[in-house]
Symmetry: C2
Subunit: 347 residues, 2 copies
C-alpha cells in the first residue's frame, strides 16, 4: 500500500486540538482511498522551548527533510515566549529552510457560513511569496535610545524569487479561470514594486492565455471587501500577501475557515500545511476550537501528495456538515462534535 | 470680516468637478458663519504637465506656503502621464514639503448609505504617518536585467517621526473615546516595527488616560472587516495607514465617502484637504462624480481653520441629504443634484 510519511507538529494551544481532529479525518480519507498516512509527532512548541531552550533541536530541519509533508497546528504562547522566539525558531525557519516559496490560501464561503459581507459569491486563491521581500529581516538601527534614533527595514526582492512565485501563480491561474491579479504599490515604492511589475510583465509573456491585472495593495484591500466576486488568483509579496490573506480569512467568516499550504513547488523538500489561525491561548484546552480550517489544510495536503480524490472527499464532507449548520457559528459546536460530523459525512 | 486664503488645486478628471462642488458648499457655510474664504485656483495637473513639462512650477511649494490651507481635488491621468510623475510631482511633495505628517481619515457610515458589511455601527478615525516609513523612497537595484538582479526598498523610521505621529494620535484619542490602536508587524519586521512599538510604549506613558492596544497589520485588516465597531482611533505607518484607510473607505461604502486631511499639526505650514478617491478618468466630465467625500474633506478644512460650527453645519447637511437617499447609490444622482441638495440643507 502506498504510504506517505507525515511529520506532525501540533505546536501550542489549540494547535494540538485541531491537529488531532484534522489527522483523524486525513487518516479516515486515506483508508477509504486505499493509501496509508504514517504520522510521526514532534513536540516542538513553546513548552518544548521552555524545557530545552529551543523551539526545535538543532537538527530539526534535517529531521523533517525526509518526510513527504509536514502538518503544523499552530505555534505561539506569547505570555511566556516572545513571538520573535516562537515564530523565528520554528515556523519561519521551516518555510525558508525548505524553500516553501508559495504560501497558498483559498478564500470562499463554505455553505452555511455567514460571512461579514452582504456579498457571498466569491472564490479567491491568494498566493503569497513566502521567503523574501518585506520579511527578509534585513535592517538595523543607529543612535539607539537618543532623540536622533533611526530604524530601517529593508525589503529584498530577487529576480529568481519574483519569477518563481509569478510562474507558480500563472500555473495556478491556468488551472482555474485564467485570471491573475498582481499586487504592488509601485506608485509609492518605486524600487521594489516597479521591479515586481517588470518581472510580472516578462513572465506574463509566457502565459498569453492568462488575463493579468495590476492593482495597488490599497485598492486590492478595498476590492476584496467591495467586489470580491471580481477576483480569482491573486499573487502578492510576503507582506502584501500576509495582509490580503487575513482580509480573505475575514470575508470567508473568520480564521476558523482559513486554510493554508506552504508549498515547495519543485518538491526538492517537503511542503507544510497549517491552518492560518494562531494558538489562541484564551480558548486552549477547552475543546471548543473550530477544526474546519485545520481539516481543510489537511485536504490541501492530500491534494499536494497527489491524492486528489481523497482531498475532494474531505472537502465534500466539510461542505456537507457546514451546510447543515455544524461548525458555522463561533463557539457553538465543540471540536469533537465537528470532527465526528466530518468523519460521519466521509463514510 | 475674518478671511482665510485657500489654495485650490482641482487637478485632473473628476477632481475638478468635486472641487467646484465642495467649494460652493464651503463658501455657503462661510457666509452663514460670518467669515470669508478667498480662493485662488491653481491649474497644476497632468494637463499642466503636458503643456509645461512639470506638474507645478519650480516655486510651487513657495507659492502655496502663504495660504491658510490647500484644497486638492485629485491628480492623475495615467494613460498619458505616469503616476510616478503626477504623484511625485505634486501630491507627495506637498505632503512632505509642508510636513503634513498626519494623514487623517474618518470612517463611518453616513445615514442612508449601505456599506458592504452586515455591521454598520462603527466610527473609526485612522491616522496615517505621512512623511517617512515605507514610502521614504530609499532603495535601488543591482545587476539590472540579469538573472542575478536584486531590488531593495528601505523603510526609514526616525524617532522624531514616530514620536510626533503617536503624540498626535494620543491627542486625537483624548478628544474622542480615549482608545488608541497602534498597528505594526513586529513579529516579522523586527527592526522598524519593534522600534515603532518601543516609541509607542514610551509616548503612552504621557497619556495614562488612553487605553492602548497593539495589533499586527494583518489582524487589524481582518478586524476592520469583522469587528469595526470595536475600533476607535488607529495609528499606523505610511504604508499600513494607506492600506487600512482603503479598507476603511470600503466599509463606509466606497471611495465616494472617504474624506481626508493632511495635517501639519504645528501649523508651521498649510495643511491640505482632499477626498481619498482618484481622478477617475473613466467618469471624468460626465457630471456624475459623487462630491460627498470632497465636501466632507471641505468640512475637515473648516474645522482645521477653527470654524467648528461651520464644519458641523456642513456635516449635518451631508447627513440630512444621505438620510433622504440622495448621493447614496453610485451613479444615481448627478454631482450637481447632490451639491444643490447639500446647499439647500445648509440654508
Ligand atoms: C505569525 C506570522 C509570522 C505569520 C506571517 O506573517 O507569516 C502569520 O501572520 C501568517 O500569516 O502565517
Ligand atoms: C496615490 C498614492 C501615492 C496615495 C498614497 O499612497 O499616499 C494614495 O493611495 C492615498 O492613499 O492618498
Amino acid at each position: 500500500m502506498k504510504t506517505y510519511d507525515i511529520a506532525l507538529i501540533p505546536g501550542d494551544g489549540i494547535g494540538k486540538d485541531v491537529t488531532e481532529s484534522a489527522w483523524q479525518v486525513m487518516r479516515a480519507a486515506a483508508k477509504r482511498g486505499g493509501f496509508a498516512l504514517d504520522g510521526k509527532r514532534f513536540p516542538w512548541s513553546c513548552a518544548y522551548y521552555l524545557e530545552t531552550g529551543a523551539m526545535m533541536p538543532p537538527d530539526g530541519i534535517e529531521t523533517l527533510r525526509k518526510f513527504d509533508a509536514i502538518y503544523l497546528g499552530a505555534v505561539g504562547w506569547p505570555a511566556e515566549v516572545p513571538d520573535s522566539v516562537s515564530l523565528h525558531g520554528l515556523l519561519l525557519p521551516i518555510r525558508k529552510g525548505f524553500t516553501q516559496y508559495a504560501n497558498i490560501r483559498p478564500h470562499r464561503l463554505l455553505p452555511g457560513v455567514q460571512g461579514p459581507l452582504r456579498s457571498d459569491g466569491f472564490d479567491i486563491l491568494c498566493i503569497r511569496e513566502n521567503t523574501e521581500g518585506e520579511y527578509s529581516g534585513a535592517g538595523g538601527r543607529v543612535h539607539s535610545g537618543t532623540a536622533n534614533e533611526v530604524a530601517i527595514e529593508t525589503a529584498i526582492f530577487t529576480r529568481a524569487g519574483v519569477e518563481r512565485i509569478m510562474r507558480f501563480g500563472f500555473e495556478q491561474a491556468r488551472a482555474r479561470r485564467n485570471k491573475l491579479a498582481s499586487v504592488t504599490k509601485s506608485n509609492a515604492q518605486k524600487h521594489s514594486m516597479v521591479f515586481w511589475d517588470e518581472v510580472t510583465r516578462e513572465i506574463a509573456k509566457d502565459y498569453p492565455d492568462v488575463e493579468v491585472s495590476h492593482y495597488h495593495i490599497d485598492a486590492m484591500a478595498a476590492r476584496m471587501v467591495l467586489a470580491p466576486e471580481s477576483l480569482d488568483v491573486i499573487v502578492a509579496s510576503n507582506l502584501f500577501g500576509d495582509i490580503l490573506t487575513d482580509i480573505g480569512a475575514a470575508i470567508q467568516g473568520g480564521l476558523g475557515y482559513a486554510a493554508s499550504a506552504n508549498i515547495n513547488p519543485d518538491r526538492s523538500a517537503p511542503s507544510m500545511f497549517e491552518p492560518v489561525h494562531g494558538s489562541a491561548p484564551d480558548i486552549a484546552h477547552l475543546g471548543v476550537a473550530n477544526p474546519i480550517a485545520a481539516i481543510w489544510s489537511g485536504a490541501m495536503m492530500l491534494e499536494h501528495l497527489g491524492e486528489r480524490h481523497a482531498a475532494a472527499e474531505v472537502m465534500s464532507a466539510i461542505e456537507s456538515i457546514t451546510a447543515q449548520g455544524i461548525g458555522t457559528i463561533a463557539g457553538k459546536d465543540r471540536t469533537e462534535t465537528i470532527t465526528r460530523a466530518v468523519l460521519a459525512a466521509l463514510n
